[in-house]
Amino acid sequence: MTTVPSPPHFMPSVYGPPPRPHVAGLPDMTSVSVQELFPSIGPAIYTNHLDDLDAVRAATRDALEHVDMSRIDVDDSVNVLASEHGFGMMGGWAYAEMIKTIREVVVARTGCRDVRLRLAIYRGFHEADEVRDHFGFDEAFDGKVKGLGPFDRGVAVDTVVGRMYLVNRAFDAAKFIHAYYDDPREMYFNRLLYKSFKSFCMSYARFETRSVYHSLFGSRSGSVIPRALFDSEFIQQRYAFSSVLRTSPAGVTGIDATTDLYAIDRRITASHLATYGRMQRLFQEIDHCVAVWDGGRWGYYLHAGGLIFGTLLTNHHDSFDLDAPVVAGFLQVPDAPVNFSRNKALRGIVVNQAWVGAGIPYVTMPFTSPMYIVGDEQAQLWREDPANPHLAARATVVPTVEDGIRLAMANGGTDRVIVFDGSYGNITCNPEMANHLRERAPDVDRLVAEQLLPKWLAQRGLA
């Protein structure tokens, strides 16, 4: 089944070039449906377009109907904590709709009027304003919208692992709501170990805490940091409930909301190992290709079939196998270091459009994978990006994306192209890649169902 590729529209930003037409519109591009590849992946209520937002709104209302909101008093102030990457999923509108609906339901159910939105961003100081304006949050929250980031004033939080620092503005209200999404994103870092808690040591945290989590722990043991923060007295005194945008590679599947974040996490983990687990394993079957960055986020975090580019970059290991100490990470096993910025199957990367500024972990990628940047104006952004000091000098600037793809394929000796354009539900690619994915998917499906999934679940106590 060939589907017409139809990636989401995305938010313009000062951190990227002006939006260009998607590669999906080129005549030799096609797409392959993730449900054709893996029929066990169920249907979505929302994929890449705005016309299904009513379904997201209804699902949020249904999920919140049974949530205990007794922790919120009528006179409380309440922060709805949103994390930046949710706005990179399918154009961000589904996540935004869940957030707006949370406010409406909380106001109606509790009578509390002082419900504010706190937008946690990565590191650009303009990101929050861009998100606020693009998604109309000022109107939805009566102007009570503020951004927060890792460089903002901190607040000390004592945990069982020691003193950590969160961002004060996230918790400058009597209560907060953890308004999250379940994008597995960097599963080679988070290993799907308590991923639902990760924002407590990342989005809501100062840079020191983020650095401790990533740099001074392994990718398995690091999972103790967000849990310790969530379980701290500071957080539990303020925590109201969680509402999570649930997805599969097919798109948004619903909303999960309750006060019990551990229960949500168990449901997400089991579901993701079955769905994203299949897609991840399929990516490991790609033995040569050219990848194209074609979206409105950092290239590393652009999706294809619900998986971010970073998954392809690090597919040298099974991210979910907890017997492996390292898939990607700063701490390394002596005598067996893993270069997590290298995938020998990645014969070239064409940058049609993507944000600059997120160096990690592809700083060293241009040393091993040839890069092609479309247009000198965009190339200048990369030349001026201190987070990627080596990229522009090692990249080839090409006048058009067609030139870049053609050159990358010729130099890399591959006839396959995969496009990371933010798509869920399908993978934008060329016919050769589509054929390869279709050919390999049945074996992957069996392998995951019969061998890998039982092991992954057992390793997490979910068998």
Partner: protein, 204 residues
């Protein structure tokens, strides 16, 4: 080693003296004189964070005429002292502390041995934090901590003393979180058992 290709500049006249640029500057290159920001070009490591942060939009980055090299050579310091500091901090010499500039732990330790006593000095000497400015911070703070530096946070939330590492966790953590992988990760990353918890009471 970091090659610093850009330097920050500003139009001081409309500067309101809000200090937001100063607070986010990783290398202490910005100071305030008569409520106006002043940039020390030699100390600027070109991260551009001040430009992004400035609410008045009166700052910019310009290419340096020649890239500025920021590095601390291991040959300039006592190698044994570097090794001892790394061991005390529980860091391998070759691990990339700053993955934007690819600055290894050994070079950060060398900067501390050479005399750096603050995170800003380490950044100014090595160029670390000239990229994302986030993930390198805890290892660098831990090396300063291990060297006995004053960990009192400076004015204005520049940084906070957060240096907890895998080696520090007490037994109650693994008892509370039996699936925390703390013990197996310790065995994987330090099979020789060289690293121990950072002890504030022990002399560096």
């Amino acid at each position: 080693m970091a090659k610093i290709a850009f330097v920050a500049g500003l139009d001081a006249e409309p500067c309101t003296g809000c200090r937001l640029c100063d607070i986010v500057c990783p290398s202490g290159a910005i100071s305030m004189e008569r409520r106006k920001a002043v940039i020390d070009d030699d100390a600027c490591i070109g991260c551009g964070r001040c430009v992004d942060r400035c609410p008045e939009d009166i700052m910019w980055m310009t290419p340096r005429s020649e890239p500025l090299t920021k590095t601390v050579s291991l040959s300039d310091v006592d190698a044994a002292a570097v090794d001892a500091l790394l061991l005390r901090a529980g860091l391998d010499a070759d691990v990339s502390v700053c993955v934007c500039t690819l600055t290894p732990a050994s070079e950060i330790a060398a900067a501390v041995v050479k005399g750096a006593t603050t995170l800003e000095q380490v950044s100014e000497m090595t160029g670390m934090r000239s990229g994302c400015g986030i993930y390198c911070v805890a290892p660098a703070l831990r090396l300063l901590h291990a060297a006995g530096a004053d960990m009192t946070p400076p004015r204005g939330h520049r940084w906070y003393p957060c240096t907890v590492a895998l080696w520090d966790l007490p037994a109650e953590v693994t008892e509370r979180y039996p699936d925390s992988f703390v013990e197996v990760d310790r065995a994987a990353f330090d099979p020789a058992g060289r690293f121990t918890a950072l002890d504030d009471n022990a002399q560096p």
